[in-house]
Amino acid sequence: MLDKNGIAKRIAKEVKDGYYVNLGIGIPTLVANFVRDDISVEFQSENGVLGMGPFPFEGEEDADIINAGKQTITTLPGASFFDSATSFAMIRGKHVDLTILGAMEVAENGDIANWKIPGKMVKGMGGAMDLVASAENIIVAMMHTNRAGQSKLLKRCTLPLTGVGCVTTIVTNLAVLEVTADGFKLLERAPGVSVEEIKEATEGTLIVEGEIPEMNI
């Protein structure tokens, strides 16, 4: 079974040379720490920066340079700043190659819910609805089950949707799965996790074809 860093490490392997990547808040943010340093990648943050670098050294924080999680950041050579409309032109216009975000629920038809629990939590969708409606390559990073132990990979989402039929790949603490027309196709198992365990933790249709390899991270 993977921890949050393990999930981020596995997703980092999907980040290819020349990609512009948008990282959501939470586990997705960790992905930047594990991307190979021999490839060229630029991270976009929807509040208006392309070419995000690591956190600043203590004493070098600049209140005017933050990421979408409102954390102080630095920029790398080649970086640029822009306004919010331009930022979402990059996203809506499909100029961003890969979007990695978290979710509360994903359904086997690719629907995603991650912005609201009616009556309990209403923080808002931020940029998530724009991202999932436009991106063609969306990886969801999340735990396979919620704190109550219930599956987050469902036949149909129960929470208010963020987007419909948009998720392509899911990486959890247990597995890597692809969303297909017939359901969640199991591609890889996390180290030490059996296909049986993944089946048990998946409420939606799970497609298992042949031997399922263990993740190489």
């Binding site: 203590e58 004493g59 005017d64 340079i65 409309a85 930022s87 969708m125």
Partner: protein, 233 residues
Amino acid sequence: MINKTVANVGEALKGVEDGMTFMLGGFGLCGIPENAIDELVRLGIKDITCISNNAGVDDFGLGLLLQNHQIRKMISSYVGENDEFERQMLSGELEVELTPQGTLAEKCRAAQAGFPAFYTPAGYGTEVAEGKETREFDGKMYVLEPAFKADFAFVKAWKGDEAGNLIFKGTARNFNPCMCGAATITVAEVEELLPAGSLDPNEIHIPGIFVQRIFQGEKFEKRIEQRTVRQKA
């Protein structure tokens, strides 16, 4: 040169009234019009509608107006950092319209650019699209979103000149340029107000035509919401 300079925040906010709709720039606490917000608190006007990506934190930014119960309605994309906000929303005191962030930006830009509405894929198939016109283009579904209408836009820039030309710094740019010229009156507060001719015309982000009033902000606290640092090796 048409001079847009006003002496202070009091003059800049002349004409604000109860029940008006305001746009306020900023992302989190980054690039918010701190001086205009302080003046709105001081004036105590009520029943206002605020178009702003976020709602500040409990004791800073728009949180100050919320504490004072001056806001009737918020139009935002993310409001997670504010307990008082959540309390007022769940108790029904505060009306909230959550809007996808890119749609929020484009509703400002559309108002600035003279478009009455636009189609966006964001929110299709979700509760955000309920009751809205949808349409298919090239096999994909889109939602019709109207431009905002607002009485005042309050924006914050790094440098500005007497002609109202603006230059923003870092990610403090965010929604500020999109809101310039998107309301009846745009008020810009700047860290540094310079004589006309001091800024290189090649480097202007927002031309002064989009700004009606400009003033030098008295103070900018620039509070950091999430101070994150790494240690030197």
